[in-house]
């Protein structure tokens, strides 16, 4: 994600094209995902070690290259509007704004986001459909539960897992591009700020299902917004609520959930286990 953000901002700065930047972000994220795949699937390395390695590597690389290319202390130059994904106003939004109830909802809530926001929302039902209703999705879930059974059925475990990792790369690449060229106008050091981990928390919180995960994401997003709003605000009776308490809630909630205090999230059984084919 961080790599995606960096590459998107760099490419957008150089080519002034948001689409090229998005493509480049996806490419680099896929490349990193492939590296993860090679380490974990082909060489049966430890996933956590590989993941930590890639995170640390990229957090250093983005700054090293950022400094070398742009000399701005690890930041990329600010982008002009045409090199970014700008908010899209839906047809008739301003005309309908006066209509009670429907108008403000349409104009302020539905219209006026950038394209990647809609893409993210579309990705949820798409993921739901792929995972639950397609042959690929069913096999994908099977490989997470029992790779041996999948292998016995004559399907390549490694290829399935590679495809899963590739899709992950595409999605995180888009996420990175969103951060640096849609939400913000430049890359800044470590700008992902643990959001990849929040996503992990959201997934666990959504009990490994796309729709509840969207709910968890909305909740964490809401918490984030509340944390910004409450800065320095006094609540009657409580005094000032420290911002850190709200910022830390997603993590605390995830820990509580994992410990089984709020329902139970069951992970796929074969998660993290490299599959070694018998010879």
């Amino acid at each position: 994600m961080l790599a995606g953000a960096f590459v998107a901002a760099s490419v957008a700065a150089v080519t002034a094209s948001a689409w090229l930047a998005l493509g480049a972000a996806i490419l680099i994220a896929v490349a990193l995902a492939l590296l993860h795949g090679v380490a974990c699937i082909t060489y049966r390395g430890n996933q956590v070690v590989s993941g930590v390695a890639i995170n640390i590597l990229v957090s250093g690389l983005t700054i090293v290259f950022g400094m070398a290319w742009f000399q701005r202390g690890g930041q990329t130059p600010p982008l002009p509007p045409d090199a970014r994904f700008m908010p899209i106003e839906w047809p008739g939004a301003s005309a309908l704004h006066g209509v009670p109830l429907v108008g403000p909802v349409y104009a302020d809530l539905i219209s006026g986001h950038n394209m990647l926001v809609y893409l993210a929302l579309l990705a949820v039902p798409l993921t739901y459909w792929v995972v639950n209703d397609t042959r690929f999705g069913l096999r994908l879930r099977a490989v997470g539960e029992s790779p041996l059974a999948v292998d016995t059925a004559g399907i390549s475990v490694a290829w399935l897992r590679y495809r899963a990792v590739l899709i992950c790369g595409v999605l995180t690449g888009i996420a990175g591009a969103y951060l640096s060229i849609a939400q913000n106008a430049a890359f800044s050091r470590d700008m992902t700020a643990g959001q990849g981990y929040i996503a992990l928390a959201a997934m666990i919180f959504g009990k490994w299902r796309p729709l509840p995960a969207l709910g968890a994401c909305l909740m964490f997003g809401l918490l984030d917004a509340i944390a910004i709003r409450l800065q320095g605000v006094r609540l009657g009776g409580f005094g000032e609520v420290p911002v850190q308490f709200i910022q830390v809630l997603p993590y605390v909630l995830t820990v509580a959930l994992l410990a089984g205090f709020i329902g139970k999230a069951t992970a796929p059984r074969a998660i993290g286990v490299p599959y070694e084919k018998e010879h």
Partner: protein, 377 residues
């Protein structure tokens, strides 16, 4: 290849392969340096001179090394129990909080002779407690240690920001720092050397390095010379066999994590009463994550960890000099190398093994040794 491959002799397995993995990491790092238009060999020279060329440089290098030994041992002891503790960063942070709270509360009433040991105990206790919670959750509630320790890093960081900004900030101070401790500083090495007539410029190196050396010996003795250490390693090697042998896995997991957290907490001793003499934000500066690279590179053995810590100490100090000398290269080059080392000696540890196995089978001169090895085994 046809026929079963011979097992590799020990010197290749624990000597050559890790070395090759690290060299591979450095090779890739060299390519990156080339890619940004600098000369890798020149970079290596500057780093070596900057890290080892004069007494002050060595002081800085050893000061970093001290931190890496603590976090490396912390990660290693958890590894031996089959646990991946990514929370070293948070545990070190909270350990430092323990040191700071102890000294802030008592530095007016207790002489340093008592205060320093108390502060060290507090570091161990706070770090251990912060790590024992994820350990407990893993052992008794089945939550995954990796995810919980990551979350605990974030929780520790938020807690520290809250405490520093709202509670512990020195009166009248603009930046989130506590007041300076009145007493309870660990002596600096340059002060001690100055007293015996060896003059050296000031460096942050302090007495904690002896503590790090002591911890190496203690960890070694604990893991390989006590029944608890044996049980801990048994659990890491084969949990079900360990259970049949009468090991209580749950208690062992909590114990391993507590020890791991205590070791990480000692970073707080080095930083808080060793160097800064006050509580500040972000004094852990990524040492906890470097500990992962150190433990992987050092194969989770104290001797290996000392060597790996020294290497990372050199990289850290040399990297600072490098950024100074070659403006296009930043300090973060060290972070890159660290990531590459974790990648090659951790995740891709099996990458180079087949090459060695092939080379080994291909060289006839080496075969008798292999045969003898096989007979011995």
């Amino acid at each position: 290849m046809s026929g079963p491959r011979r097992p590799l002799p020990g010197w290749i397995d624990i000597g050559l392969i890790p070395l090759a993995n690290v060299l591979l990491a450095f090779f890739v790092a060299g390519l990156i340096v080339l890619a940004i238009g600098a000369n890798p060999l020149e970079a290596v020279r500057i780093m070596l001179v900057g890290a080892l060329g004069y007494p002050e440089a060595i002081g800085y290098t050893l000061y970093y090394t001290t931190n890496f030994i603590f976090t490396g041992l912390a990660v290693a002891i958890a590894f031996h129990a089959g646990l991946f503790n990514i929370g070293g960063e948070g545990q070190a942070y909270i350990g430092g909080l323990g040191v700071g709270l102890t000294v802030l509360a008592l530095d007016a009433s207790i002489p340093p002779v008592l205060l320093i040991p108390l502060a060290i105990l507090a570091a161990a206790a706070f770090g251990a407690a912060w790590a024992a919670v994820p350990g407990y959750l893993q052992a008794y509630r089945g939550s995954h240690i990796v995810i919980t320790t990551i979350m605990f890093n974030f929780i520790a960081a938020a807690l520290m920001v809250y405490l520093m900004v709202n509670v512990l900030i020195a009166p009248g101070s603009m930046s989130p720092e506590s007041r300076e401790f009145a007493v309870g500083h660990l002596p600096f090495v340059h002060e001690m050397l100055g007293r015996i007539g060896f003059v050296m410029g000031p460096t942050p190196l302090n007495l904690s390095i002896l503590g790090a050396a002591l911890c190496c010996v203690l960890v070694w003795a604990f893991l390989w010379r006590t029944p608890w250490g044996y049980e801990l390693r048994a659990l890491g090697h084969n949990p079900s066999a360990a259970v049949y042998a009468g090991v209580n896995p749950r208690r062992m997991i909590v114990l391993a994590m507590a020890l791991s957290g205590a070791l990480a907490g000692f970073v707080g001793v080095n930083e808080v009463i060793g160097v800064h003499h006050r509580l500040i934000l972000n004094f852990t500066a990524g040492y906890g994550f470097t500990g992962i690279a150190v433990a992987l590179m050092g194969r989770s053995h104290p001797v290996g960890i000392v060597l790996a810590s020294l290497l990372f100490g050199i990289l850290h100090q040399g990297g600072a000099e490098l950024a100074f000398e070659i403006p296009t290269i930043t300090r973060e080059m060290v972070v890159v190398i660290q990531g590459l080392v974790i990648l090659f000696s951790g995740a891709l540890a099996h990458l180079s093994r087949p090459w060695f196995e092939r080379a080994f089978s291909a060289i006839p001169a080496l075969r008798p040794a292999a045969a003898a090895d096989a007979k011995g085994a």
